[in-house]
């Protein structure tokens, strides 16, 4: 239980937040923290646990967002069906990109994933009959759970909380299961893992496909929550970077890391947007300058992320406390 204490506190606080306040702005912040945290966790499955660092995950996010929106607009089908379709498409896309780029490591893999997301961006912004092209698709709002038209922020909060919990558990599974240990082996030294008989290539592809499906589900929820799908946003490299950013700042390859990163980054963005736009509309990009600098500083000085830094702090404190006790006896 102790190792999940952090998660229990965080998710517990989110669950009781609506009892304390009904402030729409505050609840919106929590919904987005959970949503981006969950999607960054999905990135983490490939980027953190399998070491397949991608800067093209917006591709899967966009597939999820579009699947639901297109099915609803053209055929009035439920976004839940769109959610399933998006996940299925993303698994296929993830298998293809994972298989094709299997041999690539380091910067080559990153470049391949960027190119993949760009192809989808161009396709989505040009295929006018299906996607309405560069103008984007407004997602129609129909009240009800089956149509994912949840009027209250509180319902959205619990839905995203459930989604976040699922993602947290998936990551915990990757920490304790056989597959998780094998993936860690492949991440740390692929050749050595292969030599021990671990099917490294197959595992990497599976991790990417899993990560793709989960990211796509996040894309569907996000599109239904925000109510609009813009190809230049959902397939953007900025979004791909955001997924990685949350996970890296919080601690890549840890189950709680992406959520910690999201708390910091999402609330910082919300706070700065609100305060700075009052001063001057031009200052809206300031939070992104801070992200950029934060990313540079974090990967250089705290490459394990917030979790790693906090963990080291606790261990040191525990050691010094024990040391003091030892000194006294």
């Amino acid at each position: 239980m102790r190792r999940h204490a952090g998660a229990i506190v965080l998710f517990g606080l989110a669950a009781v937040a609506p009892l304390a306040t009904r402030d729409a702005y505050f609840l919106d912040t929590i919904v987005l923290i959970l949503m981006w945290g969950a999607i960054s966790s999905a990135w983490n499955v490939a980027g953190g646990y399998a070491g397949q660092v991608s800067l093209g995950h917006a591709a899967f996010f966009g597939i999820g967002a579009y699947s639901a929106a297109v099915l609803t607009v053209h055929w009035s089908l439920s976004p839940w069906i769109g959610l399933g379709l998006g996940m299925a498409l993303s698994v296929v896309a993830g298998l293809v990109i994972g298989y094709l780029s299997n041999r690539l490591r380091g910067p080559y893999f990153v470049l391949a994933t960027i190119a993949f997301a760009q192809v989808l961006l161009i396709a989505a912004s040009r295929w006018r009959e299906m996607t309405m092209g560069s103008e984007g698709i407004p997602v129609p709002f129909k009240q009800g759970f089956w149509t994912l038209g949840l009027a209250s922020k509180v319902s959205w909060l619990y839905l995203t909380l459930a989604f976040a919990l699922v993602l947290y558990l998936v990551q915990v599974y990757l920490e304790v299961s056989r597959m998780g240990y094998q993936l860690a082996g492949v991440r740390e030294d692929e050749d050595a893992a292969q030599a021990l008989g671990i099917p490294g290539r197959r595992l990497k592809v599976i991790a990417i496909a899993m990560s793709a499906a989960l990211t796509s589900a996040g894309g569907t929820f996000w599109a239904q929550y925000v109510g609009f799908v813009d190809p230049f946003y959902v397939f953007s490299i900025d979004l791909s970077v955001l997924f990685a950013l949350n996970a890296i700042i919080g601690g890549a390859g840890t189950a709680l890391g992406p959520f910690l990163g999201s708390i910091l980054i999402t609330s910082l963005e919300h706070y700065l947007r609100a305060t700075l736009s009052d001063i001057a509309p031009g200052l809206i990009g300031v939070h992104l300058i801070i992200y950029g600098c934060l990313l540079i500083v974090m990967v250089r000085f705290v490459p394990q992320g917030l979790i790693g830094a906090l963990g080291a702090l606790f261990i040191r404190r525990a050691r010094t406390a024990r040391g003091e006790r030892l000194a006294r006896t």
């Binding site: 660092v53 690539l104 934060l294 990313l295």
Partner: protein, 293 residues
């Protein structure tokens, strides 16, 4: 086939400019083993330098070229000291996210300082049409091409014939052996980074009369430059020249046959195919990609 001369000339002109952007990128990769994800942002800074010099002091971009050399030398050194020096020996992922962070910071600094408005640098030569063997071009494009080719040629001669160039090539080939021969690799990295930034900054100034200036302007070119350098083999300067011509040809022919809307798909598909089947580039050494080199 009446369009053939126009296609050929457009390919050459585009290829020359892509080459100048790509040689900087491939030089930095070849020597430092770092893919500079902020490369496009330095191009954007070059465009803004030309824009402000033109807007404030009515300086022609070609005059700005002379100022751009020391300015980007300083920018290159400063960014190396502040950002790159500390991660030279770090893992790929740390290096990737360092340059990604630099890219985000620079792009949004430009957005905050100079707003997201589209800006134009339109000196007299941007609207001067020149007819050349059945192809119509504007003078700015031709000058940009000529300067880009001269610059790229100069850089390659520098790499081939000077002592500094030899030292850089030696480091690119084998870091440890170079260190053992008494080469100060730290200085080599600093020089490679700075030269790469100067190249792309100059390219930005050259492109300003032909394209629109805005904070995300670098992205479209840098994506192209990735395609170019991977085609030519990351780190291979001559390969980058061929890669530029191939991408420029795909782009002009694609725009002519498929229309402007879909041409980008062509070179990204080409990019993915090359990454999958010949990741070390069309002329590169096989196997480099699996080492993440």
């Amino acid at each position: 086939m009446a369009a053939l001369p126009q296609l050929v000339v457009s390919t050459l002109l585009l290829g020359g400019i892509y080459a100048l952007i790509a040689v900087g990128l491939t030089l930095i990769f070849g020597i430092m083993r770092v893919v500079n994800f902020a490369h496009g942002e330095f191009l954007m800074l070059g465009m803004y330098l030309a824009f402000w010099a033109f807007a404030l002091w009515h300086l022609d971009p070609y005059v700005v070229l002379v100022i751009a050399l020391p300015v980007f030398f300083a920018v290159g050194l400063l960014s190396y000291w502040l950002v790159m020096q500390g991660v030279i020996k770090a893992s790929h992922n740390v290096q990737i996210f360092t340059t990604v962070g630099l890219s985000i910071a620079l792009q949004n600094a430009a957005l905050v300082l100079w707003t997201g408005d589209y800006r134009f640098v339109r000196p007299w030569h941007a609207s001067e049409v020149v007819r050349l063997g059945g192809a119509a071009l504007n003078l700015s494009q031709i000058v940009a091409f000529a300067v880009a080719v001269a610059f790229t040629g100069g850089l390659m001669a520098f790499m081939k014939f000077t002592q500094a160039g030899r030292v850089m090539r030696a480091t690119a080939e084998d870091r440890e052996a170079a260190t053992l021969m008494g080469i100060d690799t730290e200085r080599v990295y600093r020089l490679a980074w700075t030269i790469g930034i100067v190249c792309v900054g100059v390219a930005g100034v050259l492109l300003s009369p032909v394209y629109t200036v805005y904070p995300q302007a670098g992205l479209q070119f840098v994506l192209l430059a990735y395609v170019v350098v991977v085609l030519g083999g990351l780190g291979d300067m001559r390969g980058a020249l061929f890669g530029s011509l191939i991408v420029a040809a795909v782009e002009t022919v694609g725009a002519y046959t498929l229309g402007i809307a879909w041409k980008e798909v062509l070179y990204f598909v080409l990019f993915i195919l090359v990454l999958v089947f010949r990741p070390a580039g069309l002329f590169g050494q096989r196997g480099a990609e699996t080492l993440g080199m």
